[in-house]
């Protein structure tokens, strides 16, 4: 049997993957409970436009993806608060708009072939050593931000009106949440890809919710499922020569389905 640790790209993929696996449910639990999980999908499509800009200009696509999603998350939140459009419509506008933008950019460059395909569906081969450092540093930033805003995020998610009355700056907290979501989405792209990132943010959380535990235990359960899916997904995809992102998401889905049936009894 091949020893996969001999391959430095596998080690890089595992390092980056575990960081992503840890931060995805942290942001996912708040998005899912606020019925706002679609924002992850919308931001993922925005990040595709960001990746296309990066590939076109020859900049690390991770940077352009982060910049475009963070700016867009702020714009989506403003558009939603303006009440000029419904929340979901704001998401739909950004999702399809940025996809259109990405496609136009791709046609301008006469296609990026294999590179773009990796960003769409995720591949650990795309993860460069510099990416691991960026994912590591920003992952820690996301972790610290969520831990230090934890109690505020819980309150605003549970009961926004009462949180406002208690004197918490709910608007700022909401904006912080979508910006953190933007960061997580961009960081996860090299591993799971644009089209599958929402799944990694949502599925482990939805699975953990089936156990009906306290908020903290629910997060821990989601973390466990997420890390398990990512590590086993990377191993399995390596040995069976499958798509990394797809394998990770399918494993998370299998865990979800098993949990659903187990909880029914």
């Amino acid at each position: 049997m091949l020893n996969l640790f001999q391959y430095s790209f596998v080690v890089r993929g595992l390092e980056a993957g575990i960081i992503i696996a840890l931060i995805a449910p942290l942001i996912g639990i708040f998005l899912v409970l606020r019925r706002y999980s679609l924002i992850a999908d919308a931001l993922a499509h925005v990040s595709l436009a960001g990746v296309a800009i990066g590939l076109l200009l020859g900049i690390n696509p991770l940077f352009t993806a982060i910049a475009s999603t963070v700016v867009s998350s702020f714009a989506i939140e403003k558009l939603r608060l303006s009440k000029k459009v419904y929340g979901e419509s704001a998401l739909a506008i950004f999702l399809s708009g940025s996809l259109a933008f990405a496609i136009v950019l791709i046609s301008l460059a006469h296609g990026f072939s294999i590179d773009l395909f990796n960003y769409l569906f995720g591949s650990i081969v795309t993860v460069k050593q510099s990416d691991v450092y960026i994912i590591g540093v920003l992952g820690v930033v996301v972790l610290i931000a969520i831990v230090s805003l934890y109690k505020e995020l819980v309150y605003v998610t549970f009961d926004e009106e009462s949180a406002t009355v208690s004197g918490l700056p709910t608007r700022a907290i909401n904006i912080a949440l979508v910006m953190l979501a933007a960061l997580v989405v961009s960081l996860a792209i090299p591993i799971v890809g644009v089209l599958l990132i929402a799944a990694l943010i949502v599925i482990p959380v939805v699975t953990a919710l089936q156990f009906k535990q306290s908020f903290k235990k629910t997060i821990l359960t989601a973390e466990f499922i997420s890390v398990f899916s990512v590590i086993s997904g990377i191993f399995i995809s390596f040995y069976l020569n499958l798509s990394t992102g797809g394998t990770i998401v399918l494993i998370a889905l299998v865990v979800f389905i098993i949990t659903l049936f187990a909880q029914r009894k």
Binding site: R35, E161, S162, S166
Partner: protein
Amino acid sequence: MQHTVDHTKNIVEVENVSFAYSGEEVLTDITLSIHKGDYLGIIGPNGAGKSTLLKIMLGLLKPTSGTVKLFGQDINRFKQWSRIGYVPQKVVSFETNFPVTVEEVVAMGRYGKRGLFKFPNKEDFQKVTQSLKQVEMLHFRRKQISDLSGGQQQRVFIARALVTEPEIIFLDEPTVGVDIKTQKQFYSLLRKLNQELDLTLLLVSHELDILAHEATELAYINRTLDYYGNPEEFLKGEYFHKLIGKGGLHH
């Protein structure tokens, strides 16, 4: 601890408040004050603007005109939100089995007071225990909130409002969807809080019959403030009959 209540101290002052929602006036020229120790019931038909008025008093909505003062200070400059407790009409998140225990819900009440980036400390946990005792829900502390009955959930929300040791609690239609027995227990809990803890209460409800016997003041709102004063006067006075006559109440 027995101490005298200064009933002349204004806690909330609403002056000439009007509110329009997309061009249509929902509240017109409301003026009323809530004094320390009052138990004010705001009643009126559905869609009369009661909850809107409550939200204006809490700063959740801005009045089209008029001013609101909390503890003598203009609401736009008011910062001491821990002096105020709030029990919202219903917390929508319930149906989704929001993963949160009774204890976690009550602790939320302390978060605004604790401040950003700070973790709850020992004092916070002591207050959580204390306020769960006050509403007799301490033995449910580790239960999921979604596993409780409507009446029990309502008690937990009162505990959350109590946990900052506020001077006034605002309650928005708290007994919607609970049975008569639970409702009675609920009102006796409020009476206890008002009489034993000198807590000022403001309760919005459409249950005139109960509230008229529980509250110390009554305000009848139907876009305008039609009556404000003693509940007994209201019941025996011409207001009540006039309202019944014009079909203003739907009970």
